[in-house]
Each structure stands twice: as C-alpha cells, then as structure tokens.
Symmetry: none
Subunit: 252 residues, 2 copies
C-alpha cells in the first residue's frame, strides 16, 4: 500500500511510545499536585489529569493498532491488511477537547452559574466540532463528504476561538493580576495547538497525503499537537492553580 | 451472516472504546470527588464510582468480544464463527442497575430505616427486572419465550418508575430547596435513559433487527444509554453531593 520506509515506520512507532510515557507521567504529576493546591482548584487538577489519562488510554490503543497494521522484516515495511484505526483520535478528542476547555474554566473559579453555562457552551461546541469531523475522516476518500463535514466542523471551531477571546477574554480580565498572564498563555496555547488539526484535515485536498512522508508528518504532528494541548497546557493549568492558591492564602 | 459494513463495524468498535475511556475517567472522577464532599455523602460517591467501574469492566469484555466476532480484511467484514456475547450487558445491569438506584437514595441522606427499606425495594425490583429479561434475551429467536419474559420483566420496571414518582417523589419534596431541582433531574435522567432498553428488547417483534444497520443502532444506542444512565447520572449525583455538603456547612 503506502510506501512507508522502515525509518518512517519506526519514527511514528517511537513517537506513539513517547506519547504513552508523557501522558502517563503527566497524569500522575497532575493528580499528585491535587494535594498542593487549595480545595477550590482540586477539581481543575482532577480534570487536567483525566485529560492526559484518557489520552494515555488512546495512545496505548493507537500504538497497538499501528503495530498490527504493518510488518517490518529485513528493513522492509509491508501492510498486514489490518487497517490502522485513525478513529481512535476522534474518540479521544470527543472526550478530551470539551474537558480541556472545562479545566481552563474551572481553574478560573468563576461564579457557579457562569462555570456551568460556559462549560456547557464551550464543551458542547467542542463535542459538536469533533462529531462533525468524524464522518469526513472515515469517509472513503478525498471527496465532498470530507469537505462538507470539514467545513461544518469549522463552525463550532471558530465559535470556540471567538468565545475564548471575547466572553472568556473578559472573564480573564477580572482574574487576579498575578495570574492573568498565565491564564492568557493557557488560552493562547489551546488556540495555537488546535490549528494543526484542521490543517491536517484539509491538507489532502491540496497535496497528496498517501506517501510515507505524509503519514509520518501527520502522525508525529498529531502527537506533538496532542502533547502540547494536553500535557503542556496542563502544566500551565497546574501553575495557575498553585499561584491562585498562594494569592488566596495571602489574602486570608 | 449479518451484512455489516466496514463503517458500521468501526462505528460500534469505536463506540465501545469510547465507553471504556468514559467509564474509566468517570470512575476516577467520582472517587477523587470523595475528598471534596462531607462524610455523609462519601458512600454515595463510592457507589457512583463502583457503577462506572463495573461498566468499565464489562465494556472491556464487550469490546474484546466484538473484535473476536468479526474479522476485517481490506475493507470487508466477515463473521469468524465466534458469537458476540450479548449477555455481558445483562451481567453488567444485574449489578449496576440496583446500585444506580441505591446511589440516588444514598445521596438524599434519608433516615437510616428509610434508606434500607427503599434500597431493598427498589434495588430488589431492579435485580428482578434484569433476571426476568435474561431468559428472553438468550432464547433462540423472536418467540413466545422472549415475549413472556419481556412482559414479566416490565412489571418490576413499571413498579420502579411508579415508585420514583410516588414515594421517592415525596422524599424529594422534603429535600433542601437548593438541591431539589438537581435530584429531580437525576430521577428523570434514570427514567428517560431506561426507556431505550425495553424499546430495543421488543423492537424485533415489529421490525427486522438482523441487518448491519440494526446492529449498529442497537449497540451504539445501548452505549449512549449506558453512558447517560451511569456517567452523566453520576455527575448529577456528584453535583448533589457537593451542593448538599455546602448547605450542611452553611447551616453549621
């Protein structure tokens, strides 16, 4: 099938294993961190760890699926006929992308009603974005189904980006001065890391994506984007929770 | 056997994997949440997490059974001769359905004698409902055995629905004002999500349920119903436990 070189196969294989190790370590770090922040921020860290835990589960499955899809003998890569299950990523995002936005909302510690309404709006839009992308991703080829669902999926995506800078931006302005910069960083990290996903989704319409190089770029790229959006982002959430706990303690 | 397309096979496969990830994440969330509620509500959250933990175990088995029942090679799905074990769902429900009702009763923090009597009545009726459904589900075909046990199973089902609105409804009216709405939401969520199960059970008497589309609708539908009745319902129980802990603390 695809002309994947042994080097490309190994690079992706090792990137997935790197993902497993990173997400496992990140999960434990965030959950250990729960005991070091005030009780107001424990739920934010629980959810931060859940996001990397769910990613860990899926990278475990993705890694196994990759190993079943290809066989390497004497430096030559051949497909086994078992298809690499690309959809694990969508199953992962359906859970983690709404939770990512919710952990950012939780660590801000807004009024209860605002937390609930913002979580439902942003989390709901995120779930819709992923659900709309799925039929396009699993459709047979580079066709109108992929294009239509891709465009539909961009609508909630743009709504989320807009909300993160408009209504959430205003809520950030009301945060204590000492953490405002960190919260803006977390918000920007979400947006920047997310832009990789639609680029990969629409790229096949522009350039051929069937060769080994394309597959390696996509899979390694997704892995880097996932680590940035979940583990690195989670570190910023952790830093915010620690800083806010200190600010609260200083006030009391 | 059944004409299952590769897309339908994958959709069900991914839905089961989604179930595994969701129930694992939900279990951890509920058990972490134990430290954030007063000691009166810890048992409710223990049980809430047990329900999703038991579901996690069964979805793990169901996922494996699905993978063993079919083989996909180059986009074509064929049955392997190993039967997909539908009965795992009944084993799951026999444990989780009584526990679901018990977690709702526990989070209400009724008088001890009322907790015990309501748990025995509702939990017992729920176990009876599942036990009566089982012989119909595993019977050879769409026959009188399925119909008779289905009808018998509906008797405890209707008793539970009636109780949730009569005697449990009165107990809800005595709950603190700030949580009454949430408890009613939890109660309604149980009833609404449960109606999917008898519909699927009796549907074969009305329409042919053997094609790939039917199988996909049933399995994905069960997964959504299970996630709603266990994980989403559990989130409402968690919210009730947090709110009641706050109300108790404000009173003291």
């Amino acid at each position: 099938m695809e002309a994947l070189s042994a080097g490309q196969f190994s690079l992706v294989y090792n990137a997935f294993s790197f993902g497993i190790a990173t997400f496992a370590a990140a999960t434990l770090f965030f959950w250990f961190g729960r005991s070091q922040v005030s009780h107001h921020y424990k739920t934010a860290l629980t959810v931060t760890g859940l996001v990397t835990f769910i990613a860990l589960y899926h990278y475990w499955r993705i890694f196994a699926s990759w190993g079943e899809a290809y066989e390497v003998a004497n430096g030559v890569v051949v497909t086994t006929g078992v298809e690499f299950n690309r959809a694990y990523r969508y199953v992962d995002w359906l859970l983690t992308v709404p939770l990512l936005l919710i952990e950012l909302i939780l660590v801000m510690r807004l009024a209860q009603s605002e937390t609930v309404s913002k979580s439902l709006k942003l989390g709901g839009a995120a779930a819709l974005m992923i659900l709309l992308g799925y039929p396009g991703e699993v459709s047979a080829g580079i066709d109108s189904t992929r294009m239509i669902f891709g465009v539909l999926s961009m609508l909630p995506f743009l709504y989320i980006v807009y909300s993160l800078y408009s209504s959430l931006g205003e809520a950030i302005d009301r945060q204590p001065e000492g953490v405002r910069g960190l919260i803006r960083l977390a918000r920007n990290l979400v947006v920047v890391s997310w832009f990789f996903y639609p680029i990969v989704y629409f790229a096949p319409f522009v350039v051929s994506m069937s060769g080994g190089t394309s597959i390696a770029v996509i899979e390694v790229g997704y892995t880097i984007a996932d680590i940035t959006a979940k583990a690195v982002f989670g570190l910023v959430i952790y830093a915010i929770a620690v800083r806010k706990s200190e600010i609260d303690a200083a006030k009391a």
